[in-house]
C-alpha cells in the first residue's frame, strides 16, 4: 500500500517515507525503513497512519524534535543488517556520550517509542553515571531534592528494622549472649566441683523467663500483668514450635559456644509441642526448651540478625539513647518478677530461678538470693 502511495506522491523517489509529528506540532519526513525500527511507529504504520503529510503519526509527548533526531540516528545505523557486533558496540559507545540531562530525556523518549535496545543502552549509561559516586554527588548531578530527614538517611546504614522495639531486643540478645558465654565458662569450672544438673537448669530457666518477658513486653506493651502472662504463654508455645525446628538445626557456631551436652539432649528429646501449664512432664520439656532457648539465641547469632557488628556503626548519641532505653526496659522487667514467681511456685517447682537485673553501669548480673527484695 505504501509503495503505491509513494508512486503516486513521489514518483522520482525509490524509498518509502513516513511522516512523524512531534509534541511541538512540527512534522518530519523520514525514511520508512529507518522509522520502522521503532515498534511504536511500526504499529502505527500497520494501522494505516503516517503515509502522508496530512495523516502523520503523532509521537508521544516525551519525544521532542531533538530527541527524535537522535533516535532516528540510532535507528538509521542499527537497521542496516550487515553491521558486525563490534561496529554496533562502537557506535553505541559514542552515541551515549552526552550530558546526563539529555540522557534522561533520551531514555524517556526511547521508552515511549518502545525502542528497548536504546532504553537498555541509555539505562546502562545512566547507571555508569551513578556508580562509584557518593549520594551527595549523585544528588548534585541529577538535581534531586534532598528531602529525607537525617534519621531516615541513617537508617540504611544501621539495622534497618522498622520496629525500634526489635532493635532493642537485638541489643538485649547481644547482652544475653555475653551472659551465656560467661555462664558457659562458669559451668565448666563449677562442674568440676559440683557435678549436678540442677545448676545448669536454673540458669537456663532464668534466661527463658527474661527473654519471654522481653517478647511479651514488646508485643503486648506490658500493660497489665495478666495480659503479660497470657501473651507470654502464647509466646512460649510459639517459640517452642520454632525451637523444636531450630533444635533440629542447631549446630555449633563458629565461636563454638554451644555445649555438646545440649546437642545430645536435643537429639534424644525431639517430640514436644506442649504448652507450659501441665504438671511434671512440663518440667522435662521446659528443660528441653530452656536448652533450646540457649541454642536458639546462638542460632540468632549465626544468622547475624542480632549481630553486634550491626551496632558498631551507630553514632554515640544514639547509642547512649538506646542504652538508657535498655536500662528502662530491664527495670520494668524486674517489677514483673512477683507474678512470675507466683506462677512458678504454683506449679510445684522447687527450684527458684535466678533472675537478672541491670546494675549501674548497664551490664546484667545475676541476683543472689540475698538481694531478692520480693518473695
Amino acid at each position: 500500500m505504501t509503495e503505491a502511495d509513494s508512486e503516486i506522491i513521489k514518483p522520482e523517489m525509490l524509498k518509502a517515507y513516513v511522516w512523524l509529528q512531534t509534541s511541538d506540532g512540527s512534522i518530519q519526513q523520514v525514511e520508512q525503513e529507518v522509522a520502522m525500527y521503532c515498534p511504536f511507529i511500526c504499529q502505527e504504520i500497520h494501522s494505516g497512519m503516517g503515509s502522508s503529510k496530512n495523516y502523520p503519526i503523532s509521537l508521544p509527548s516525551r519525544v521532542n524534535p531533538s530527541m527524535l533526531s537522535l533516535i532516528l540516528d540510532y535507528c538509521r545505523f542499527h537497521q542496516v543488517p550487515g553491521r558486525s557486533n563490534k561496529e554496533r558496540k562502537s557506535f553505541d559507545e559514542k552515541f551515549v556520550r552526552m550530558d546526563t540531562k539529555r540522557l534522561c530525556e533520551l531514555t524517556s523518549a526511547a521508552d515511549s517509542l518502545q525502542l528497548k535496545p536504546l532504553v537498555d543502552l541509555t539505562s546502562r549509561a545512566l547507571a555508569r553515571v551513578i556508580e562509584g559516586k557518593t549520594p551527595e554527588e549523585i544528588r548534585e548531578i541529577f538535581h534531586l531534592p534532598d528531602d529525607l530527614t537525617e534519621e531516615e538517611k541513617l537508617e540504611p546504614i544501621k539495622n534497618t528494622m522498622d520496629d525500634p522495639r526489635i532493635r532493642l531486643l537485638n541489643r538485649l540478645y547481644a547482652r544475653k549472649r555475653k551472659e551465656l558465654k560467661e555462664r558457659e565458662r562458669l559451668k565448666v569450672i563449677t562442674s568440676l566441683f559440683l557435678p549436678c544438673d540442677n545448676v545448669e537448669i536454673e540458669e537456663e530457666r532464668g534466661d527463658e523467663r527474661s527473654v519471654d518477658d522481653l517478647l511479651s513486653f514488646i508485643n503486648g506493651g506490658g500493660e497489665d500483668s495478666k495480659g503479660t502472662r497470657t501473651s507470654k504463654n502464647k509466646k512460649k508455645s510459639r517459640k517452642r514450635k520454632d525451637l523444636k525446628a531450630a533444635s533440629t538445626n542447631c549446630t555449633s557456631t563458629s565461636n563454638n559456644t554451644s555445649s555438646s551436652s545440649n546437642d545430645v539432649d536435643l537429639n534424644k528429646k525431639e517430640t514436644n509441642e506442649l504448652h507450659s501449664e501441665s504438671g511434671n512432664p512440663s518440667l522435662h520439656n521446659k528443660l528441653l526448651n530452656d536448652v533450646c532457648n540457649a541454642t536458639k539465641l546462638l542460632d540468632i547469632e549465626d544468622d547475624g540478625l542480632a549481630a553486634e557488628d550491626e551496632f558498631d556503626g551507630i553514632d554515640p548519641a544514639l547509642k547512649e539513647k538506646l542504652d538508657r532505653e535498655v536500662e528502662d526496659f530491664a527495670r520494668r522487667l524486674n517489677s514483673d518478677w512477683p507474678e512470675i514467681m507466683q506462677e512458678i511456685l504454683s506449679r510445684g517447682q522447687e527450684r527458684r530461678p535466678l533472675p537478672l537485673t541491670v546494675n549501674g553501669n548497664g551490664s546484667l548480673r545475676r541476683y543472689t538470693s540475698s538481694d531478692q527484695r520480693h518473695k
Binding site: 537498555d120 539505562s123 556508580e131 538535581h143 537525617e150 544468622d303 540478625l305
Partner: protein, 463 residues
C-alpha cells in the same frame, strides 16, 4: 532529634534540571538493575522517591569477591567477615519489595553453621519465584570442602507442609506450602556449589521444577545414584562435578542437550538421548577411565562438541583406539602439563574427527618443565575442515611446540592459530612475580618457536 526535611525547591515543582525524576519508576529500577547491589542500595538515601526503588531490583547478586580475595590471603578473616556477609544479605532480603525476582546469587564461604540463615534466603528466593538461583558456597571462594561440613539444601521444609516450622521472628514472609511449590515451578536454572543435595532433593527438583532447564551441582555429598529420565523433563543442561559419593549416573529417554561430568570413575549409563550434542567428561585421573568412550557409545555419532578433562595424560593413551566422531565440530582437551610429556598422541583423537572445525588444547600447568629433546612428528593428516586451533596455557615446552607445529604443517584449511601463554589455574591470591615471569618466558618462546614456521595463509595470534 528529628531534623526538618530540607528541600531545594517547593514541594510541588520539580527542579527544572531534574530530568531523571521525570522518568517513571520502572525505568529507574531498570537503571538500578545495571548497578551492583551495593551501589543500588546507596541510592536509597538520595531522596524520598528513591528510598525504596532499589528494593524492586529484579536481580540480587550478593557478590563479595573482594572480601573473598582478602579471606584467601588471610583465612583468619573468615570468622569476622561471615557475619557481615550474612547481615548484608539478611538486610536486603528483609527490604526487598518487588513481587518477583529474576536471579539470586549467593557467593561466599558459608557452611552448615549458617544453615538457618541460608534456609531463609532460599525460601525467600523461591517465594519470589526466582528464575535463576545460584548458591556458590565454596571454601575461601575457591575450593571444595569436605561434604560433611557443607550446607544441605533444605529439601524437607520446602515440600512438606509442617506449617510455619522455621518461622523467624524477623521474617515477614508468609511461607505456606502453595507458595513454595508455585515458586519452584518458576525455577529455570539452579546452580549449587558446595551444597549437599540428597537424592530426594534431586528428584524433587526434577519433578517439581517444571521449567528447570539448567542444573549444576558441584562438590555435593549425599548423592549415590543419579537418575535423569523422562522426555517430559525440560532439562537441557546437566553438570555434575566432584560429587564424590556417586556410583552411577543414568541418563535415558530425556531431551538433554549438554551433559558434563568431572570426578572419579563412575558407572555412566546413557541411552536414548536424541538431543544430546555436547558432552564434557573427565573420569578419574586419565579422564578416560572406565572406558569412557564405550560408556558414551550410543551418542558418539551425534556429538558436536566434546570436552575431555585429562588430568594425567598417561602413556597408555597411545593404546586407546579412539572411535570415530563423524559430526564433531569442536574438540576441547583440558590436559595437565607434567614435565615435558609429548602431546602428539592426541593427534590420533583429532584424526578420528573428520569434520572438526575448532580444536582447543588447554594446558594446566601442574609441573611443566622444558626439556631439550628432538621434536617428534606425528603421522600426517590433512584435517580438511579444521580452521581454528587454540593452545591455551602454552608453556613453550618442546611438547607444546611439537603440537603447534603439527597443526601449522598439516591442517590445510587452518585460518587462525591462537597461542595464550597464561597460567590457567586462577587463584584468588594475586599473581606472584615468578608466575608473571613464567608467562613472559612462555610468550617469548612461542614467538621464537612459531613465528618463523608460520605458513603465509595462517594468522598467528600470541596473546
Amino acid at each position: 532529634m528529628r531534623k526538618r526535611a530540607r528541600l531545594t525547591e517547593p514541594k510541588e515543582l520539580f527542579n527544572a534540571d531534574d530530568c531523571i525524576s521525570a522518568l517513571p519508576d520502572d525505568l529507574l529500577v531498570t537503571i538500578l538493575s545495571c548497578l551492583t547491589l551495593k551501589e543500588a542500595a546507596v541510592t536509597s538515601i538520595l531522596s524520598r522517591r528513591w528510598r525504596h526503588l532499589w528494593t524492586n531490583v529484579a536481580g540480587l547478586d550478593f557478590d563479595a569477591n573482594d572480601t573473598l580475595d582478602n579471606i584467601a590471603a588471610d583465612p583468619k578473616l573468615r570468622s569476622s567477615e561471615r557475619p557481615k556477609y550474612i547481615n548484608w544479605v539478611n538486610r536486603v532480603v528483609r527490604q526487598h519489595r518487588g513481587p518477583t525476582l529474576d536471579a539470586v546469587r549467593i557467593c561466599f564461604d558459608l557452611d552448615k553453621s549458617s544453615r538457618s540463615a541460608i534456609d531463609n534466603w532460599v525460601k525467600f528466593a523461591i517465594a519470589k519465584r526466582v528464575q535463576r538461583l545460584e548458591l556458590d558456597l565454596l571454601e575461601n571462594g575457591e575450593t571444595l570442602r569436605q561434604p560433611t561440613r557443607n550446607y544441605t539444601f533444605p529439601y524437607k521444609p520446602l515440600s512438606q507442609s509442617k506449617g510455619s516450622s522455621l518461622k523467624n521472628v524477623y521474617s515477614n514472609l508468609a511461607l505456606t506450602q502453595p507458595s513454595m511449590s508455585t515458586g519452584l515451578k518458576c525455577l529455570k536454572a539452579l546452580s549449587l556449589k558446595c551444597v549437599n543435595v540428597s537424592e530426594e532433593a534431586l528428584d524433587c527438583f526434577l519433578s517439581t521444577c517444571l521449567v528447570l532447564q539448567y542444573l549444576s551441582i558441584h562438590g555435593s555429598g549425599g548423592l549415590k545414584n543419579v537418575k535423569v529420565t523422562g522426555f517430559e523433563l525440560p532439562l537441557k543442561y546437566l553438570e555434575i562435578v566432584f560429587c564424590l559419593g556417586i556410583d552411577t549416573i543414568e541418563i535415558s529417554n530425556v531431551n538433554l542437550v549438554s551433559f558434563s561430568y568431572l570426578g572419579p570413575g563412575i558407572d555412566l549409563i546413557i541411552s536414548n538421548v536424541p538431543m544430546l550434542d555436547e558432552i564434557s567428561i573427565g573420569e578419574g585421573y586419565s579422564g578416560l577411565e572406565n572406558n569412557v568412550f564405550r560408556q558414551l557409545s550410543c551418542c558418539l555419532y551425534q556429538l558436536e562438541v566434546l570436552t575431555l578433562d585429562i588430568y594425567r595424560p598417561e602413556e597408555n593413551i597411545k593404546i586407546f583406539a579412539f572411535p570415530v566422531l563423524p559430526n564433531l565440530k569442536q574438540l576441547i582437551l583440558k590436559v595437565g602439563a607434567w614435565d615435558d610429556d609429548s602431546l602428539l598422541e592426541f593427534t590420533s583423537l583429532i584424526k578420528a574427527c573428520p569434520n572438526l572445525n575448532r580444536f582447543v588444547l588447554q594446558l594446566i600447568w601442574m609441573s611443566p618443565s622444558k626439556r631439550r629433546r628432538k621434536m617428534r612428528r606425528a603421522p600426517e593428516c590433512a584435517h580438511e575442515h579444521l580452521t581454528l586451533v587454540e593452545i591455551v596455557g602454552y608453556y613453550g615446552r618442546t611438547s607444546d611446540a611439537e603440537l603447534a607445529m603439527y597443526f601449522l604443517e598439516n591442517a590445510v584449511a587452518l585460518q587462525k592459530i591462537v597461542i595464550d601463554p597464561h597460567n590457567q589455574i586462577l587463584e584468588r591470591s594475586p599473581l606472584g612475580i615468578a608466575q608473571i615471569k613464567n608467562e613472559e618466558s612462555a610468550r617469548r618462546r612461542a614467538r621464537k618457536q612459531l613465528e618463523p614456521k608460520k605458513p603465509p595463509a595462517v594468522q598467528l595470534v600470541i596473546l
